[in-house]
């Protein structure tokens, strides 16, 4: 039995009168790639944001390995830096070059020596194929390039798990492939990942488990084959066929046409 990296227990979150998460529980194991799908408004992004407390849940516990994630506790920042996060709209620091974006985390948070941090940053940029653009500012990069730098920035903190919040939703179609490619490499390298995405090609190829979120709870989960080909619930089937139509012709876009 692989060891659990992230354990979410009975998570609740309300925004004013709307209950988004209704007692969600989920465990992610070491090296596992979990792809989270579900209709809009079911709390996929909220779930990810609750994990590193960009959003404060109302109740429920989340553990990274054995440590409970709790703001205000002395080790909170230390736990947070072990959770890498990739945002839909990149959120690269606009005033820093690509390499500075990647180095700033180790420098400011881990108090790493600058020279060492820049060496590490270059290594991470190479990993996502962005070494040549190390000196460029975010505004000089394409969306796909920005997202790859953002992935490198998260990787530089040497996280135990990476959260991807719709990483390709803000990208032009022809730029999605390069980002998915990087994510697939990461998955193959054994990174534990939680990915909110409707890219079925990626899910089919890289996911170990698909989690279908509906109404603030895990409605159904299983291997990609099971969820995509043989879902138990009618609602899951409907949803899958809907996103399959959206993905149509691009089911595996970017993964084979590189």
């Amino acid at each position: 039995m692989p060891k659990p990296i992230l354990r979410i227990e009975n998570l609740h979150k309300k925004f004013r009168d709307t209950e988004v998460l209704k007692g969600l529980s989920l465990t992610v194991y070491e090296g596992e790639v979990v792809v989270i799908i579900g209709p809009s408004g079911t709390g996929k992004s909220t779930l990810l944001r609750c994990i590193n407390r960009l959003t404060e849940p109302d109740s429920g516990d989340i553990y990274l390995e054995e440590q409970k994630i709790e703001p205000g506790k002395s080790n909170f920042s230390q736990i947070r830096q072990q959770i890498g996060m990739v945002f839909q709209d990149f959120n690269l620091f606009n005033h820093l070059t690509a390499v500075q974006n990647v180095a700033i985390g180790p420098i400011k948070v881990k108090k790493m020596d600058k020279k060492k941090a820049y060496d590490l940053a270059m290594k991470e940029l190479e990993r996502v194929g962005m070494a040549e653009k190390a000196g460029n500012y975010p505004a000089e990069l394409s969306g796909g390039q920005k997202q790859r730098v953002a992935i490198a920035r998260a990787l530089a903190m040497d996280p135990k798990i990476m959260l991807f919040d719709e990483p390709t939703s803000a990208l032009d179609p022809e730029l999605i492939g390069e980002v998915l490619e990087v994510m697939k490499d990461l998955a193959n390298a054994g990174m534990t990942m939680m990915v909110v995405s409707h890219e079925m090609g990626f899910a089919r190829e890289a996911a170990d488990r698909i989690v279908f979120l509906e109404d603030g709870v895990v409605a159904e989960e299983g291997s990609p084959e099971k969820i995509f080909n043989n879902p138990e619930r009618e609602r899951t089937r409907e949803f899958i066929s809907k996103i399959a139509r959206l993905n149509s012709g691009g089911d595996d876009r970017g993964l084979n046409n590189k």
């Binding site: 960009l54 606009n94 700033i104 500012y137 505004a139």
Partner: protein
């Protein structure tokens, strides 16, 4: 004896006027240094402060922007003299600083709030503290954005320093008054005084434009 003779007397007073420029610049620089620090602090309290810190910043800004600068100046000078004696020179420096800090706090607040929320979230997600996020991520971007608006406010401070004449501080405006009285050539005198202010603000605005260009973020549209 004619208009030429009087005009010559005004022109001969230009070095004396330029001596006033030096004092005008001193007052302006001191007031700006104080008001920028204070304004920045107030803006941070306004955006990130909770409870009474936030409220203090808000009330300070409202109050200072509601009072004429001349009233603040006289309050500091006359009310102050009953408790501690504030020299005229420092009364104008402080009045300008307190007054401008309120406007600058609004400028910085706007600039900070114009930076997208995702920037702070990305900083926090990396494990940075809020404090680190503010100083390493938000302010470097916000301050760049604030430059043209701050520069505009700075020229206002420069021009408002002329109110010091009301307390008898011998800066540019006050010296202009002396020259005008001595030569009986008010129009010519004030044209020259006005030209000097124009040159000062023009030079300042130009150099701020250059700074703004120098620190711009490549590729980023403004």
């Amino acid at each position: 004896m004619g208009i030429n003779f009087a005009a010559n007397k005004v022109l001969a007073s230009i070095p004396y006027l330029l001596g006033g420029v030096w004092i005008t610049l001193q007052i302006t620089v001191l007031a700006l240094a104080l008001s920028t620090v204070l304004g920045l602090l107030l803006s941070l309290l306004r955006v990130y402060g909770k409870g009474i810190f936030h409220r203090f910043s808000l009330i300070y800004s409202r109050l200072m922007r509601s009072l004429p600068l001349l009233v603040i100046l006289f309050m500091l000078y006359f009310l102050g003299s009953e408790i501690i004696d504030i020299p005229a020179y420092w009364a104008i420096v402080l009045a300008l600083a307190f007054h401008s800090a309120a406007y600058q706090s609004e400028i910085f607040r706007g600039a900070i709030q114009s930076i997208s929320k995702g920037q702070m979230e990305a900083a926090l997600a990396l494990g940075m503290s809020k404090y680190q996020g503010i100083f390493s991520v938000i302010l470097p971007q916000a301050l760049r954005r604030a430059i043209p608006y701050w520069a505009n406010e700075a020229t206002i401070v420069l021009k408002d320093s002329s109110l010091a004449y009301a307390l008898g501080v011998t800066e540019l405006m006050r010296r202009g008054e002396y020259v005008s009285a001595r030569t009986s050539q008010p129009m010519l005198t004030y044209i020259i005084v006005g030209l000097i202010y124009l040159i000062l603000t023009y030079a300042f605005t130009k150099s701020m434009n250059r700074i703004e260009y120098k620190v711009r973020i490549p590729g980023l549209e403004r």
